[in-house]
């Protein structure tokens, strides 16, 4: 599972870096307003874009640690076979949703490539692309997380 660990580390790193960019850009914007009495419109726009990438990448790795917020007390307190069925259904609905969002998100990003952002003048498609990229990564981590128990069992045998 070395490949997934590396991918996980990389995605985490980029998500963290994007958050750092959010912090740096907002701070720069405040500083420029105070020091030079000049508002950096591009900085606030870019900070939002950095956050959007950070959100879709972060939401993807959250699948690996199973840390998305769920109301799972009912599932946990139900009989074993029921819990198993629920797990399969959850997996199917999550995977289906992620595939759909990746596909529709890709279409959206392609359309947005022609449109450039008001202040920084970069194609909005570069930002919207976070949706398909994040969804595919989420799908990869979701599948790995579901299948990893089987791999571990084999190694122990």
């Amino acid at each position: 599972m070395k490949f997934f660990d590396l991918l996980d580390m990389f995605v985490r790193f980029v998500a963290g870096l994007c958050l750092f960019a959010v912090f740096a850009l907002v701070t720069a914007q405040v500083a420029s307003r105070f020091l030079f009495n000049f508002s950096l419109a591009a900085a606030s726009e870019l900070s939002i874009y950095a956050m959007i990438w950070s959100v879709f990448l972060g939401a993807a790795v959250a699948f690996r640690s199973n840390s998305h917020i769920a109301m799972d007390i009912l599932k946990k307190n139900s009989p074993k076979p029921f819990e198993g069925v629920a797990d399969v259904l959850i997996f199917i609905s999550l995977a289906g949703f992620l595939c759909l969002i990746a596909h529709e998100g890709y279409d959206l990003a392609m359309r947005a490539m022609r449109q450039s952002s008001p202040a920084a003048k970069i194609p909005v498609g570069y930002i919207t692309m976070a949706i398909p990229v994040g969804s595919i990564l989420a799908l990869v981590f979701l599948i790995e997380q579901k299948l990893s128990p089987f791999f571990k069992d084999k190694r122990h045998d």
Binding site: A15, V26, L57, A59, G96
Partner: protein, 420 residues
């Protein structure tokens, strides 16, 4: 379309699908089976929901909280509250409440406050002979002050969903926050008398001047955030970034508890925990697009108004609903599910949305230390080594304190918006 939406949402939630995805999948199902709107609208709403500057306050306030925790500001605040409250009966319990209130004024999250204060004071309480379950209950209930006393992440989320000024919510949250801290202090006093817990001896290394000097840097923080927003110098988002910068400077150069190496985990952990919250808000945007288009909030509000339009009675019903929702749902999930509908209802009967926001945040805060999903309880159980059931039994008098304050807020609604 509405029937499909709610049926799908309910079954997905009960099955245990993460809330963010339950909202997204239910929206897809409703659009696909109940309308001819192309599904590209779902990623579009997801994107638009996040494409806003005020939203940046969420990751930045989370970041500020994590920086404060890494800077070990909590230890200074515990010493400060020891100086002020340690000598009274149940001194350590009073210190937990006091330090949580201080920490709440620099952090916006209840679990962060619980673990920052609890990891220091629960071991001390157990050592001094407090029952572990009682120690856990004190810290879990006081930790909820973290999201009531501004800055508050829950208020930021409410403000962005309900389109209410976050600055106004923060200012309005100060007084109720202090009142709840005092109410918890009264319960601490009564419990200490009943359990025979004494005050703490004043130790030699606690010279008042030194303790105040050490914690003063931490106490400047709320002044920057609240003063900056109230004075119109910063937007809430900007004040959060300034708070991060201040925390980094204090942590790296003055307290020297944050190193360059520890910066990586702080940013990465915050990125992931804020991504979880923000993704939820994104799919909630797709969901609320459908319910608004179908005028669900208006229909629900109208049917409740048919039953009664007395604001007090409506607030009582909402209180029961919020307490129930807070018990079974995470705060963010409860907000995205309920606020769009309740917001329409309260506006229809003339209840102030700022008042309502503060009220909602306090009512949901109780869910943080009630079973089965109270995050503060989990943390307090882990720190005190006692069972969640036992802690929640000991927390009953503290729940009572919150309920008294909530009822007072229903009876005297004007108090909250006095300073806004």
């Amino acid at each position: 379309m509405t029937e499909i939406l709610f049926l799908a949402l309910f079954s997905l939630l009960v099955m245990g699908v993460p809330v963010a995805f339950s909202l997204g999948i239910a929206s897809v199902a409703a659009l696909y089976f109940g309308s001819s709107i192309p599904l590209i609208i779902v990623p579009q709403k997801l994107f638009n929901g996040l494409n806003s500057f005020p939203f940046l306050a969420i990751p930045l306030f989370l970041l500020a909280g994590n920086i404060m925790a890494a800077a070990q500001i909590s230890e200074r605040l515990v010493k400060l509250s020891g100086l002020a409250l340690g000598r009274y009966p149940g001194g350590l319990a009073q210190m937990s409440t006091g330090a949580s209130a201080f920490f709440g004024a620099i952090s916006g999250s209840a679990p962060a406050t619980t673990s920052a204060i609890g990891s220091i004071l629960i071991p001390s309480m157990v050592k001094r002979g407090y029952a572990p379950a009682f120690a856990g209950a004190v810290v879990a209930s006081s930790g909820a002050l973290g999201l009531i006393i501004p800055p508050s992440l829950t208020m930021v989320i409410y403000g962005t969903i309900a389109d209410v000024s976050i600055g106004d919510l923060f200012i309005a949250g100060i007084l109720p926050g202090i009142v709840i801290a005092c109410a918890l202090g009264v319960v601490n006093y009564i419990m200490a008398k009943r359990l025979g817990l004494t005050g703490e001896p004043v130790s030699a290394d606690m010279s008042p001047r030194k303790v105040i000097a050490e914690s003063s840097l931490a106490l400047v923080m709320p002044l920057i955030i609240l003063g900056g927003i109230y004075g119109g110098i910063f937007t809430p988002t900007e004040s959060a970034a300034v708070a991060c910068l201040y925390g980094l400077i204090v942590g790296m150069f003055i307290y020297r508890s944050i190193t360059i190496k520890s910066l990586g985990p702080i940013f990465i952990d915050t990125a992931i925990s804020s991504a979880i919250v923000m993704y939820l808000m994104g799919t909630a945007n797709a969901f609320s697009f459908i319910i608004t288009a179908e005028q669900v909030p208006q229909a629900l509000a109208a049917s409740i108004l048919e039953f009664s339009s007395n604001p007090t009675l409506i607030m009582v019903m909402i209180l029961v609903l919020l307490l129930l929702a807070g018990t079974f749902l995470d705060n963010v999930a409860a907000l995205v599910l309920l606020v769009p509908t309740l917001g329409t209802l309260i506006l229809a009967v003339g209840i102030d949305p700022v008042y309502f926001g503060v009220f909602t945040v306090i009512a949901l805060a109780v869910g943080n230390f009630t079973p089965p999903v109270g995050l503060n309880l989990f943390i307090a159980a882990r720190l005190s080594g006692s069972r969640m059931e036992d802690i929640s039994k000991s927390a009953l008098p503290y729940i009572g304190a919150y309920l008294v304050v909530l009822v007072l807020l229903i009876l005297f609604p004007k108090v909250i918006t006095l300073f806004v």
